[in-house]
Symmetry: none
Subunit: 219 residues, 2 copies
């Protein structure tokens, strides 16, 4: 897979821009646990995930974390190049959750092409809108529903009732219990899975980290 396969707008670039990107982009391989980017001081460049998994999160002064979203194969991380957008005023951390291979497009190169190319600027817009939507979803869930807490509590109660860590239950039934749409349950369970709290398989939810679930349920 070549660089152009990761950039849906490749064909809308001029030959000169394509050449600049090919020459300027650097391949990188990092081990699980590597922090690839920490806050705005560090304007590394755009990351294109070739293989593996990255996690974007924010960090409080007290060292608490919130996962904002994850990036998988073919995803693009904009906030590792946040200096290209002057108005981004928050600090995102990026770490590799698995051994990861990625392309890095240097920030200045990308910025220069974005300034002259409407397709690149609009593509960047869509990436930002996607991340913005993910963050809004998370904020609504946490603030209004305390849905993360309620779901953690429900899973622990079910586990106590059934005397097992392997719950045979569908997302739809959980949704019915909690008065929430199945899609919302699925999305939050995937978030839990990403955080190592549960493991999902067809028709089952396995509790993998009771301590973490309990601290969430009581929080």
């Amino acid at each position: 897979m070549e660089l152009q396969d990761y950039l849906p707008i490749w064909k809308k670039l001029t030959p000169a821009q394509q050449r600049q990107l090919k020459d300027g982009t650097v391949g990188r391989a990092v081990k699980k646990g590597t922090v690839l980017h920490s806050g705005s001081a560090d304007c590394t460049g755009l990351f294109l995930v070739r293989q593996g998994q990255l996690r974007a999160y924010i960090l409080s002064d007290e060292g608490r974390e919130i996962t904002l979203y994850r990036l998988f194969e073919r995803d693009i991380c904009l906030f590792s190049a946040s200096c290209i957008l002057h108005s981004i005023q928050f600090e995102v951390m990026i770490e590799a959750e698995k051994d990861t291979e990625l392309w890095v497009i240097p920030s200045r190169l990308y910025q220069q092409i974005m300034e002259e190319s409407a397709p690149v600027a609009n593509f960047t817009n869509e990436i930002m809108a996607t991340r913005f939507s993910e963050v809004m979803w998370l904020m609504e869930q946490i603030m209004w529903k305390s849905f993360d807490k309620r779901l953690a509590r429900f899973l622990l109660e079910e586990s106590a009732l059934e005397e097992t860590d392997l719950l045979k239950i569908t997302h739809e039934i959980i949704g019915n219990h909690l008065g929430t749409a199945r899609e919302v349950v699925t999305r939050m369970l995937r978030y839990f899975q990403g955080e190592g709290m549960v493991k999902l398989s067809r028709g089952t939810v396995e509790l993998r980290d009771r301590t973490k679930l309990e601290s969430l349920a009581e929080g």
Copy 2:
């Protein structure tokens, strides 16, 4: 003041684009309390505030609100035209907090110009990054900072906006702004009153000790 004074990128538009914008943009005046936009179903257009004040907020199923940000003279509201960005998947409400005059640029017109003009696309990017930063700030406030700090900050901001120490505002409305139940607001305001920071009367909150409020807000 003409339309071009509100668009810093005006000079980077072609004469044809300038003419299209001038012909297509509509002036509008609304009374305080008017809901100008409610969610994505309604893709009204970009709002440019000429005079007055708009509030962008989200609304839960149960009718609770959180203020995301405010828009003042010369500010541009993107989310009233969220259909131009396919990846925006959340619903923002916009209401006039004061009698407001605005320009409305129809969504399709703006989208068409954005698709062909790199300066317009990059300008749009910066607006979105600004709003994204405001929302991230808010999320960090909510999740990490305690409510007393947020309330103190809110009272100081309202006081600066209204240019008075005597705020005419109910606990319920404060709760809507901060995504908190009225009871929580009342309890914290009484605590503030006990500390001599505010004085409460029916329908008003008077700021009595700005220094103390400020040190709490910054703490």
